[in-house]
């Protein structure tokens, strides 16, 4: 049978299965919801009925031979990849698969330091060694950008034995590197090009978007379908290019992925892929229109700076994802996290994150014009009511760390817990980050400095949600014993 993008093999198989009224003497034990009334009332009957287990008619995520295989093939076609895998452990699972497939203990991998924690976590697990490329920074906004070609070239030259280069496409803030050139550089030096596209699903379907990983010729890309692609939270897709042995990738996925893949997540990926393939162009056109409108209105308010592609510089800010609504708030005297908190507590608006100097709102086709107006008008009010002098405010989101030991070595070495304020000069044995965005301030193996301690204290004082340390209160930090 030949499928087209208007098919959804998993969805169709599940519909057939439910119509057949098969008597369930398998897991899940709630048996279509009958065994847990409150859960059924809350999530809905059809949701519970769709929560089924792998079986002959529905295929098996660990070893797809029928409908999941077909759905993955359709996804590969839709994304312009040679093969695709449905991932139910989040894009964290996709990123870790890329790294664990490309490297092993002691191998080097080149990556920007402003990666998501999932990438460095993978290094803790498999023992590969990061070669960090310092991202460019925008002095005014204080945010880390993409990697410049010059810096990638330098890293490759100094580490010709590295196995892969990892690229954020785009960063959380929507900034893209020159991915085409980086992929080319990697391939010329026999390195794999891996792309973290947790925030870039729409690059594959919208018009006039930054270049996607697969289109740039990358070897693997981790795509967060659930972020802007419309599937359920925790579902993700791993894409592979021409030179990747997809059967090996499947084995790597199965090292860490659950053997009880949720059919809610799997079917949501299938349905979301179909929707994007059929309607993606329209969906993301509207998204960009909303975001561009909001950007221009917010910039008219004064004080705020909703940045856009005017910052493109052909280097570390090579391209910009126009669906992202990032707003610089420091000039009204408020940290991004403070604006984030006021929006939620006073105006009933939840945005994606606020950090030291910026906020980020996720815009999608699911928004309505009236909500965009509410966001703009609330920002106008926040400026009117809460703005203050910006003296004494931190002006950067990112501090280049000094790496002393590899993440795995640091994480598994002898450690002791010391108060954060007394840890200056020591080597960190764990992660410290604000979540979101989840970019580590400190990763295992990095030297703790006064500047970093001040930054952590400032972020805590402003109300950032800090995570990563063993100490849930983030007062003490594990350091590597000398």
């Amino acid at each position: 049978m030949i499928f087209s993008q208007s098919d959804a093999p998993v969805l169709e198989a599940m519909r057939g299965h439910l119509q057949n009224r098969v008597v369930p003497f398998d897991v899940p034990g709630h048996k279509g919801g009958r065994g847990n009334q409150e859960l059924t009332d809350f999530l809905g009957k059809s949701c519970l009925k769709a929560d089924v287990n792998s079986m002959k008619s529905l295929d098996n995520l660990c070893h797809p031979v029928s409908v999941i295989k077909e759905a993955q093939e359709l996804a590969a076609e839709a994304f312009g990849a040679k093969s695709a895998f449905f991932i139910v452990n989040g894009t964290t699972g996709s990123v870790q698969t890329m790294i664990m497939a490309a490297t092993k203990t002691g191998d080097k991998i080149i990556m920007p330091r402003n990666v998501h924690r999932s990438a460095i976590n993978a290094l803790v697990v498999n023992g590969a060694v990061p070669v960090y490329v310092n991202p460019g920074t925008n002095k005014k906004l204080g945010i880390p950008l993409g990697m410049s070609i010059k810096n990638v070239e330098k890293a490759i030259k100094e580490n010709p034995d590295a196995k892969a280069v990892l690229i954020n496409n785009p960063t959380y803030y929507g900034v893209c590197s020159d991915i085409r050139k980086i992929v080319k550089l990697a391939h010329e030096n026999n390195m794999l090009a891996l792309v973290d596209e947790a925030h870039g699903t729409h690059f594959y379907f919208g018009e006039n978007m930054p270049l996607s990983g697969m289109a740039a010729g990358a070897d693997m890309a981790a795509v967060s379908m659930h972020k802007t692609g419309g599937s359920l939270t925790q579902s993700s897709i791993l894409l592979c290019g021409e030179n990747i042995n997809s059967n090996y990738i499947r084995q790597v996925i199965n090292l860490t992925q659950t053997t009880s893949g949720s059919y809610l997540l799997i079917s949501s990926l299938d349905i979301a892929r179909k929707n994007l393939a059929l309607n993606g162009r329209t969906i993301f056109k509207r998204t960009v229109e909303y975001a561009e409108y909001a950007r221009s209105e917010i910039n008219k308010l004064g004080g705020y700076y909703a940045f856009g592609d005017e910052l493109c510089d052909n280097e570390a800010f090579f391209d910009f994802d126009k669906t992202k609504l990032s707003v610089h708030t420091r000039d009204i005297g408020l940290a991004g996290i403070e604006v984030y908190d006021i929006l939620r507590d006073e105006y009933g608006i939840q945005i994606e994150f606020g950090d030291i100097g910026n906020i980020l709102a996720i815009i999608s086709a699911g928004d309505r014009a009236l909500e965009i107006e509410r966001l703009i008008s609330s920002l106008s009010e926040i400026k009117r009511i809460y703005s203050k002098d910006k003296a004494g405010m931190f002006d950067h989101e990112y501090i280049n760390p000094e790496v002393v030991t590899a993440p795995q070595q640091a994480f598994y070495s002898g450690k002791k817990s010391v108060p954060i304020n007394k840890s200056c000069g020591m080597v960190c044995g764990e992660f410290v980050m604000c979540y979101p965005p989840g970019i580590p301030i400190l990763a295992p193996g990095e030297k703790i400095t006064d500047e970093i301690i001040n930054y952590i204290n400032y972020a805590k004082e402003k109300g950032c949600f800090m995570t990563g340390t063993e100490d849930i209160k983030i007062e003490n930090i594990n350091v590597v014993e000398a």
Binding site: E346, Y347, L370, E373, R374, S377, S378, S380, E381
Partner: protein, 284 residues
């Protein structure tokens, strides 16, 4: 023929009016617009199936949303009306020669078109030269204004759907900014009898109260609205609607009304205990 229009006043309560004719049904970009003809209530406008006005009792709503603020400040000259596509609020305002300008901001042009055709009783004064109609989002319009209006009237639908943005803190804050130092904000304020309406009423009151130094509610009895008991909000930077009532001035105008008078003006701010309890709870 046994044709009835029904609105659910709660999940368990229905309110029905026998319909003689279904005159118009149209889907706009924002909502479904219907006009019915009924024996008891005359013509009726519904938006997304919810009753907005009937010819028989619209005067109560429109008199109360306009004359209460007007009788407090004779200097009101520049008025902003948000919503109000049926024209009833504007009709009442045009009766004051002291008003020099009325900006009416209605998001849905089709509502105005339909009302012009089928409800001349309310839409009759939309052609007054002092009236300027802007078809756009109310929140967006008011965001661009500063220190401009003497009175803002929010004549909106319920806070579920199109009118949602007009019950938010950011909207009230932007209204505050758009008003002059002695400005007044009057709004359609839901009711307290049924829980879903009571919750929006509480939220709205809390938000207005945290924006304006003076924030009161007043009541009217409107037979076709859920529970028949309806509330309006009166918020102001300066005027207390009871102490600052200019009864003699208002009566000297000789405006003939069917519901409002200056004795009722004072009385309508005397609200039942259950409403007072709701208002108190709104701060929590």
């Amino acid at each position: 023929m046994d044709l009835w229009y029904t609105e659910n006043h709660s999940d368990n309560v229905k309110f029905s009016i026998r319909v003689d004719k279904h005159l118009k049904s149209q889907q706009s970009e924002f909502q479904r617009i219907d006009i019915f003809e009924s024996a008891e209530f005359g013509r009726m406008l519904t938006l997304d199936g919810l009753l907005m006005i009937t010819e028989k009792d619209e005067y109560i709503y429109h008199e109360m949303i306009t004359h209460v603020p007007m009788a407090v400040n004779p200097d009101i000259a520049n008025v902003l009306v948000i919503g109000a596509g049926d024209g009833g609020t504007v009709r009442e305002l045009t009766r004051y020669s002291s008003i020099k300008n009325i900006d009416m901001v209605e998001i849905d042009e089709m509502v105005v078109e339909v009302c012009r055709e089928y409800l001349p009783q309310t839409a009759c004064r939309l052609t007054d030269p002092r009236v300027h109609i802007f078809y756009q989002d109310g929140l967006r319009f008011v965001r661009g204004k500063e220190n401009e209006y003497d009175l803002i009237i929010v004549d909106s639908t319920d806070p579920f759907g199109v009118g949602e943005g007009l019950f938010t803190r950011e909207f009230y804050g932007n209204c505050y900014k758009a008003l002059k130092d002695d400005g007044i904000l009057v709004n359609q304020h839901e009711s307290t009898f049924y829980t879903s309406y009571a919750n929006s009423m509480k939220r709205a009151h809390h938000r207005i109260k945290s924006t304006f130094p003076i924030a009161l509610v007043y009541q009217a009895h409107i037979p076709t609205y859920p529970s028949g008991h309806w509330l309006f909000g009166f918020a102001s930077k300066k005027f207390d609607p009871r102490a600052d009532l200019k009864a003699d001035w208002w009566n000297s105008l000789g405006i003939k009304t069917k519901y409002y008078n200056t004795i009722l003006h004072t009385g309508c701010f005397a609200i039942p205990n259950n409403v007072r309890d709701c208002l108190r709870e709104s701060g929590k």
